[in-house]
C-alpha cells in the first residue's frame, strides 16, 4: 500500500541523527519535552538555549528550515489562542502601543507559545529523521504494550487508504457540483463517511487475511534488529541531557 503520506513526514537521509536507533530518539524527545515544560517561564535564556539545541540537531540531520516551518503549521490554533490571551486575560494591565494588555495574559501567552513551539519542533525532528515503522519498532523496544503498537501499525496503514479514498470521494462529490459549505451539508458528509469506512475496511481486511495466511500472529517479524549501543544512547541523550544540565545549572545559580 502506498506510503505517500509518510513521505510528507519523513525526510530520508543518512545523517548521524537518521542512523540513531528509533528507541533512543523517542526517549530523547520525550525527556526533552519534559525538561522544557518543567522550565519556569521567566528563564528566557534557557528557552533560547533549548532552541539552539534543536537547531543544532536540525543542522546535523540536514533538515532544511523551510520543511520545519511548514510542519510547524499544526501549532497555528494555539498561536491564535495565545495572541488573544493578552487582550482577554484578566488582572493587572499594562499599556503597550496604546493598547491595554493583561500582564498575566502576556506571560501565559509567552509560556504556551514557547513551550508548545519547542515541543512541536522536537517531534517534527523525530518524525523527519525516522521512518514511521521504525518509530513503531522503537516504541516496541521501549516496551509499549504490543497491542498499542499493533493498532498504531494498522492505523498508519489504513490512514493512507482512508485519505486516498477521502480525496477520491471528494472529487466525485465536487465533480457533481457539491461543495460542503455549512451545516446543512453535514448529512451528505456523514453518508460518505459511512461508505468510506466500509470501503477502507474491506480493503485492509483482505491484506490482513493475506498476512494471517502467512503466519502473522500480531507482531511484525523483526529482520533488522535496531538494538542500541551505549554510545548511541549517549548520543541521543545529549539533547535532553544538555537541556537538563542547563536547567539545573540555572536553578543552582538562582
Amino acid at each position: 500500500m502506498g506510503a505517500g503520506h509518510h513521505h510528507r513526514l519523513h525526510l530520508s537521509g543518512d545523517s548521524l541523527v537518521h542512523r540513531l536507533p528509533p528507541q533512543c530518539k523517542l526517549a530523547a524527545v520525550v525527556c526533552f519535552a519534559l525538561v522544557v515544560v518543567a522550565t519556569p517561564r521567566e528563564w528566557f535564556g534557557l528557552f533560547a538555549g533549548y532552541g539552539a539545541l534543536l537547531a543544532a540537531v536540525a543542522v546535523i540531520a540536514r533538515i532544511p528550515p523551510g520543511f520545519l516551518l511548514r510542519r510547524m503549521a499544526v501549532e497555528v490554533p494555539f498561536v491564535v489562542f495565545a495572541v488573544a490571551l493578552p487582550f482577554v486575560g484578566s488582572g493587572e494591565r499594562t499599556p503597550f502601543l496604546g493598547l491595554s494588555l493583561s500582564v498575566a495574559g502576556l506571560w501565559a501567552a509567552w509560556n504556551i507559545l514557547v513551550k508548545a513551539t519547542l515541543g512541536v519542533l522536537a517531534s517534527v525532528l523525530l518524525a523527519a529523521t525516522t521512518e514511521p515503522r521504525m518509530i513503531l519498532l522503537g516504541a516496541q523496544r521501549l516496551r509499549l504494550p504490543s497491542l498499542l503498537v499493533q493498532i498504531a501499525m494498522f492505523m498508519l496503514r489504513y490512514l493512507d487508504v482512508i485519505l486516498a479514498e477521502m480525496r477520491r470521494m471528494r472529487v466525485a462529490r465536487e465533480s457533481r457540483g457539491f461543495a460542503a459549505r455549512d451545516v446543512r451539508h453535514i448529512p451528505v458528509i456523514a453518508r460518505s463517511a459511512g461508505a468510506l469506512f466500509i470501503r477502507s475496511y474491506e480493503r485492509g481486511e483482505r491484506v490482513h487475511l493475506a498476512m494471517l495466511s502467512r503466519g502473522y500472529t500480531g507482531s511484525m517479524p523483526v529482520l533488522a534488529d535496531p538494538s542500541a549501543s551505549s554510545r548511541q544512547w549517549l548520543a541521543a541523550g545529549m539533547l535532553p541531557g544538555v537541556a537538563l544540565v542547563a536547567l539545573l545549572g540555572v536553578w543552582g545559580l538562582a
Binding site: 519535552a33 522544557v36 515544560v37 518543567a38 499544526v74 501549532e75 494555539f78 489562542f81 488573544a84 490571551l85 482577554v88 486575560g89 484578566s90 488582572g91 493583561s102 500582564v103 498575566a104 506571560w107 501565559a108 501567552a109 513551550k115 519547542l118 515541543g119 517531534s123 523525530l126 518524525a127 518509530i135 504494550p145 497491542l147 498499542l148 499493533q150 493498532i151 498504531a152 494498522f154 492505523m155 498508519l156 496503514r157 489504513y158 490512514l159 482512508i162 485519505l163 451545516v183 453535514i186 448529512p187 456523514a190 453518508r191 463517511a193 459511512g194 461508505a195 468510506l196 469506512f197 466500509i198 477502507s200 475496511y201 474491506e202 485492509g204 494471517l212 502473522y216 500480531g218 536553578w251
Partner: protein, 350 residues
C-alpha cells in the same frame, strides 16, 4: 481540543498522565477479550478513521481548537476498552508523528478525548440500547451517545482548566466558549456517528460491537439438493463456534458496565484529590488573581520548582499533593478493577 505543552500546570499534566496510564492499563486488560487477531485491524481502522475525522478543525475563541472527537464512534464499533486504546493510539501518533498535541500533555489529552468521551458515550449508548432493541435503537443511541460525549468532554476540559490552566482567562469564559462550540460540534459528531454506524450496520453488521446478536443456524445441502439444519444428531462437525458467541457476549456485557464505572470513579477521584490539593480559598478566582511571576521571582528557589507552580497550600506543596493524589487514584482504581474482575468472574461462574 489537543492541548499543547505548557498549557496546563505540571501538577495537572502529571495527574492526568497517571489517570491516562491507569485507564489505558485497564483498557489493555479488557481489550484482550474484545479483540482477536481479526479485530486488531478493525481497531487500527477505527483509529485511522478517528484521526481523519479529527482533522476537521474549528477554531474555538477562548479555548483551544475544536474538532470532532470520534470517541463515541470508536466505542460503538469496537467496544469501550478497545476504543480507549484506539483514541490513545491516535493521540500518540498525532503527538509523535504529527507534532499535534504536546508530548507532556498526552495524559491530559488521553484522559479527555480517550477516557472521558468514550466513557460518557458508552454509558449513554448502553443506557438506551438496554431498554430498546433493534437496529433503529442502535442508531438512535449512537446519535445520543456522540451528541452528549462531546460537551461532556469539553466540560471536563474546563474542569481541568479550572484546576490548573496556565492561561489567566476566567473559567466562566472558557466554560461558555468550550461548552457552546462543543454543543454544536456534538450535533455534527452525533450525525456522523449515527450515519456511519447505520451504514456499517446495514452492510457489515458483524463489525459493530454495540450490536452483536445471534447468528442463524447453518444449513447443509445433500447431493440431491435437499436441505437440513446443521448440528442435528449424527453430524461429526463441531457447531461450537456459533453457539459460544452469545455466552461470551453476556459476560462482556456485564463487564462492560463495571469497568467504565471503575474508570469513571478513578477519574472523579483524581479530579477531586487534585482539586482539594490545589484549591485556594477563592477557588474560581484563582486564575484571575494569579500572583504569578512577581512573587515567584523573589521566591525561594524551591518555590520555583516545576512541580510547585502554585506555591504552597496549607503547608503542602501542590505538586507533591498532585503526586499523592495521582498515587491514591492509581491505587483505588487498581483495587477497584481487581475487585470488579473477581466479582465478574464469580458472577459468570455462578
Amino acid at each position: 481540543m489537543h492541548v499543547p505543552d505548557g498549557f496546563f500546570t505540571p501538577a495537572v499534566s502529571l495527574s492526568a498522565g497517571v489517570v491516562a496510564a491507569a485507564g489505558v492499563a485497564v483498557a489493555l486488560r479488557g481489550a484482550r477479550r474484545e479483540l482477536d487477531d481479526r479485530t486488531a485491524p478493525m481497531a487500527g481502522l477505527v483509529a485511522a478513521f478517528v484521526f481523519a475525522v479529527q482533522m476537521l478543525n474549528f477554531p474555538v475563541a477562548a479555548g483551544t481548537s475544536g474538532h470532532l472527537l470520534g470517541g463515541a464512534l470508536a466505542a460503538i464499533l469496537v467496544g469501550p476498552y478497545t476504543a480507549v486504546l484506539c483514541i490513545a493510539v491516535v493521540l500518540l501518533v498525532q503527538g509523535f508523528f504529527f507534532a499535534d498535541g504536546g508530548l507532556t500533555a498526552l495524559g491530559v489529552n488521553i484522559t479527555l478525548m480517550g477516557i472521558v468521551s468514550v466513557l460518557v458515550a458508552w454509558g449513554v449508548f448502553r443506557l438506551i440500547t438496554r431498554s430498546a432493541r433493534g437496529r433503529g435503537a442502535v442508531v438512535a443511541a449512537s446519535f445520543a451517545a456522540a451528541l452528549l460525549s462531546v460537551p461532556a468532554t469539553a466540560l471536563t476540559f474546563t474542569l481541568l482548566f479550572w484546576l490548573g490552566g496556565t492561561a489567566p482567562v476566567s473559567v466562566g469564559t472558557v466554560a461558555a466558549a468550550m461548552g457552546g462550540v462543543h454543543t454544536l460540534i456534538g450535533i455534527g459528531e452525533g450525525l456522523i456517528t449515527a450515519v456511519t454506524v447505520s451504514t456499517v450496520l446495514a452492510v457489515r453488521p458483524d463489525l459493530v460491537y454495540g450490536a452483536r446478536g445471534l447468528a442463524a443456524p447453518l444449513v447443509l445441502r445433500g447431493p440431491g439438493g435437499e436441505e437440513r439444519e446443521a448440528g442435528a444428531a449424527g453430524d461429526a462437525g463441531d457447531a461450537g463456534d456459533t453457539v459460544a458467541v452469545p455466552a461470551q457476549a453476556t459476560s462482556r456485557r456485564r463487564l462492560g458496565w463495571f469497568a467504565p464505572a471503575a474508570i469513571a470513579l478513578t477519574a472523579v477521584l483524581a479530579g477531586g484529590v487534585s482539586f482539594y490539593a490545589s484549591a485556594s480559598p477563592d477557588g474560581l478566582e484563582r486564575v484571575a488573581e494569579d500572583k504569578g511571576f512577581a512573587d515567584r521571582a523573589t521566591d525561594h528557589a524551591l518555590g520555583d520548582q516545576p512541580l510547585a507552580d502554585y506555591g504552597e497550600q496549607g503547608g503542602l506543596p501542590v505538586g507533591v499533593a498532585g503526586l499523592i493524589g495521582a498515587g491514591v487514584t492509581l491505587a483505588v482504581g487498581g483495587g477497584l478493577f481487581a475487585a470488579v474482575r473477581r466479582r465478574t468472574r464469580e458472577g459468570v461462574a455462578a
